[in-house]
Amino acid sequence: MRTRPPLPLLLAASLVAALALLPVGYLLLRMAAAGPEAWALLARPAVWSVFGNSALLAAVCTAGAVALGVPLAWLTARTDLPGRRFWSVALVLPLAMPSYIGAYAWIALLGPRGMLGRLLAPLGIGRLPEPYGLAGTALVITLINYPFVLLAVRAAIRRLDPALEEAALGLGLSRRQIFWRVTLPQLRGPIAAGGLLAAFYALSDFGAPALLRYKSFTRVIFIEYQSAFNRNTAALMALVLVGLTLAVLAAEAAVRGRSPLFRTGSGSRRPAAPIPLGRWKAPALVACAGVVTAALGLPILVILYWNVVGWRNGQGLWLSPSAVGNSLLAGTLAAAAAVVAAAPVAYLAGRYRRRLAGWADRSAYLGGALPGIVVALALVFFSARHLPAGLYQSLPLLVLAYVIRFLPQAIGCLRTSLAQIPPRLEEAARGLGRGRLRTFAAVTLPLLKPGALAGAALVFLTTVKELPVTLLLSPTGFDTLVYAIWSTASEGLFSQASPSALLLLGLSALSIAVILRQEERGLYG
């Protein structure tokens, strides 16, 4: 590894890291302003048991996401599963589901007189498990956040060198042994990256724990903001969450390890032939269909049902055309900006082993586990008081807020891709006389494409359904789909929430299809 990063790279990465630290800066300021009652709250054992609940939820959801994401990524990227393209989109789409909609849907399905209960009763199936508590919350969140692991691992699998596996085959290992002893160890990095994002999502989500009655830390923070208008106490709580984030980051680094993922021998990798599934085709299809049904199909059925019920009672459709355009615009800008911002940080951390690189990397991740309201208020604090009036509550500031929240997603995917590019390629280009920037543009950038696209997809999906930052920082009058869904659903007007919810899912599906198509076409280019 090289030791001296070029100054422009260092500056760019530091700028991004500094921006990402704005929420933490805000929290520290508020902590300084917090009175003794706020600190007294921290001493209550009840608060710490709730903290433990959050950590437990994050652990369970991460384990679930990995258990689902890794096999599904392998199935869609390395085997001859029929309809791979369709499954690639369908299996990633659950990330577009807002967590409170997922929670409402599962309550409607599994409640005492829920739809599933009524459907299965004639078959003699007795009481179904209740959706509340840890089990229900973990189920809803896992079914939404497993695409983090899926996308990161998928991007990595497609660039795996098949030569290792072929060598193992030649040495007499069975397919199963090859998966566990050759493929999986190479996937430690992407699994850690995806798992980290899944953990962050579970830590920062508020919708699912609130509706499914699980006492997580975000709920405590929310009570302080919502009920006491007590921003100082809430900030103190959020700082504790930052501490937990640092612990999670340390765990991820340990899992990721330091081994390189690229080929060190002579020659270059060639495309891997799809592994034939044979008699496992049917079970694989059933598994994929099962996941898609649970994560998407059932909630969509519930949403459609609400729609029909509303029609029958004379409720009209409530749709705003400008909301669709605005949501698309915000999502696209955020995705592009996040990838651009993540690039210097990922490159610095991936190619250089300096302390500073490590800190820049960690700082950029800190914004990711905070509840959205914290990030939003932090930016309000700094921009309303210190920026010119035209910039406050403007589209650029909104995009910045999204980037701060979702930067980890872009960084994680880019780092995984970068780890698979041998530095020799870049060194060869430099040796042939290309400058650093030209080398990056001509050699590294095309090879980073899968990671960049995966990161863009993740950021787009999470941005279009993001709620708290959008409510506080979007330009006043900026209609969004997510507001339409949230405001009607929280008042129980589910039939009015349905059209917008379906539209959101449809838009996300289209965008994912476009992005994944690019991934396919640019793969061997």
């Binding site: 209550r44 009840a46 609130a210 509706l211 009920s227 309000v380 008081r385 339409a484």
Partner: protein, 369 residues
Amino acid sequence: MSLPPRRRVALALAAALSILPLACGGNESSVPSAPPETTGGDRLPASVRPDTPVPPPSLAGQITVYSGRSQNLVGSLLQRFETLTGVEIKVRYGATAEMAALILEEGENSPCDVYYAQDAGALGALAAAGRLRPLPPSILSKVQPRFRSPEGLWVGSSGRARVVAYSTERVREADLYDSIWSYTDPKWTGRIGWAPTNGSFQAFVTAMRLTAGDQATAEWLKGILRNRPKTYANNAAIVAAIADGEIDLGFVNHYYLFNFLAERGESFPVRNFYPRAGDPGSLINVAGAAVLKTSRNPAAAEALVDFLLSPEAQASFAEETHEYPLIPGVPLDPRLRSLDEIATPDVDLGALADLEGTLNLLREVGALE
């Protein structure tokens, strides 16, 4: 790296699509094409004549409203103000408490002129922080003193009564108690639903503390907790849960039932019960509005608050959202019990802003964690 043709087309399409809403003036409060039932100001009962205010010649420019009430509820009403007066109105919709936190965080540079809140507690919090501008007596005098700030800093625009929503299938009205105090009876074990994190519930507990003292309130909360109530995030979830059979009764605001009746029909198996005695169970909380001290267009801002108390706006509250109008002479939804019949507790709604004390009490008895 040049883009392949199909990608270029896709990008161009996306760019065109995204510019389109901006070109069509997406920065104004674009009100969606609402279903016929919610065109607020155009359908009025015969007994109320629209009192179209003559705009004073000095009203101009624009105002920014932060509304904790949803676009669905008040969007067309606010648009009507713009049509009537020519003042350009920009509305930011969100949750009441988040909008209050936003205003507090923005400080002196807040672009907000009018804060329209779903409950009085948030208005009280802003008043206590010194962010509100006193309203002129002409506006304040339109409502009863119990529905406005004693310092004249905010005014209520519509009322919501606390009720006990109950399942028509599993509870007979005769079984329900007059007074909220008696729901600690063990016969309701496992059948009650509440939302301790909800603003209107906390306002009700604050009212209980103010009228009966902390000790008695703590006893009541512990009594309810002994009945193992189920916790929900908001009032709508409670009403839905009653219909779904999870619980048999819940402490909610009166108008949620009507949303469900409109959505799912008259066969929806839940009804409202109004506690008869004058205890906190029969609290009437208000949605209300205030003008910010940092407002750059206070004349227009006050005109908007005045408009919310006009017969036209008050009639729309009665008809569209099934709330209680606060000015005299506006006909009520016949399914609602009239304001005069509800013996409200003797509580200053502005004092309901003392949420800190309520939160501490709720935490102490274990209702919140």
